[in-house]
Symmetry: C2
Subunit: 124 residues, 2 copies
DNA sequence: ACAAGTAGGTTTCTAATGGTAACTATGTTT
DNA sequence: AAACATAGTTACCATTAGAAACCTACTTGT
């Protein structure tokens, strides 16, 4: 006997997906890390590169312009010599912080879990 | 006078980045949506496609194998006719739910904010 | 004076990822 | 017999990411 398909869990036609919408704001390689690094205040290009070692200039540059375009952060050129550029979160950017905190919190759990498994595996 | 670089905000050598680690678990197109769709219980391939209309068979298939490999979900073939395949979250998968809830919560804020801006722009 | 360094990128090239559409195998329903 | 359902796979193309080199303007060290 063929299976019946269970009904849809999230009615699609009426409203766009809130999960997808928020994910699109933080989409792109290293975007969450950039936002996380800016949570404590403004930060310059080269400082961000130090905060996030694996990111290349090209990708960091691309991500910063995208995030600026999305209204997540502001770019501010300061008349130093040589000129420096500071990035800082907008109010919208600040709203993303709780979600990133929740993700970091899961990171802690994963770490604890790995430690536990490593011990369990070593004991076998 | 040249600027001094402010000190690094997250000491890198000692520990790997918790944010990046958790992000890698939910990485890949539509992965968060798949996990979200499974949060209320097991779901079949074609049901997931209905839950997440924009995903293609190819990408859904790729995502499901990756998530299984990462230990986020289990694949279970049932001897129906034709055979059907159910996917369900593991304990590790369940641990990701709070983070996704936080993201959905931001989705709500973004929606509210959009409505507000739309009104403000219309009034100009 | 001249080489090297700093800041904030851009350019080029290659590899991996994602999207579209067509196609498959087995078995059931009409 | 033709059509449909399930759970994918395959081929092809467009976009994205990563590595490494390069660039302009200004400053510092020898």
């Amino acid at each position: 006997m063929p299976l019946k398909m269970r009904k849809n869990r999230s009615p699609k036609p009426p409203e766009p997906c809130l999960l997808t919408e928020c994910m699109q704001v933080i989409a792109g390689a290293w975007a969450p890390n950039v936002i996380w690094s800016l949570r404590a205040g403004p930060r310059r290009f080269s400082e961000l590169k130090v905060d996030i070692p694996p990111v290349s200039s090209k990708v960091l540059s691309a991500r910063l312009s995208e995030l600026e375009e999305r209204g997540v952060l502001l770019r501010h050129v300061r008349p130093t010599s040589p000129p420096s550029v500071e990035y800082e979160l907008t109010d919208l950017g600040e709203e993303l912080i709780p979600a990133l905190e929740a993700i970091v919190e899961v990171g802690h759990k994963l770490k604890a879990r790995r430690g536990y498994h490593a011990v369990a595996e070593a004991a076998e």
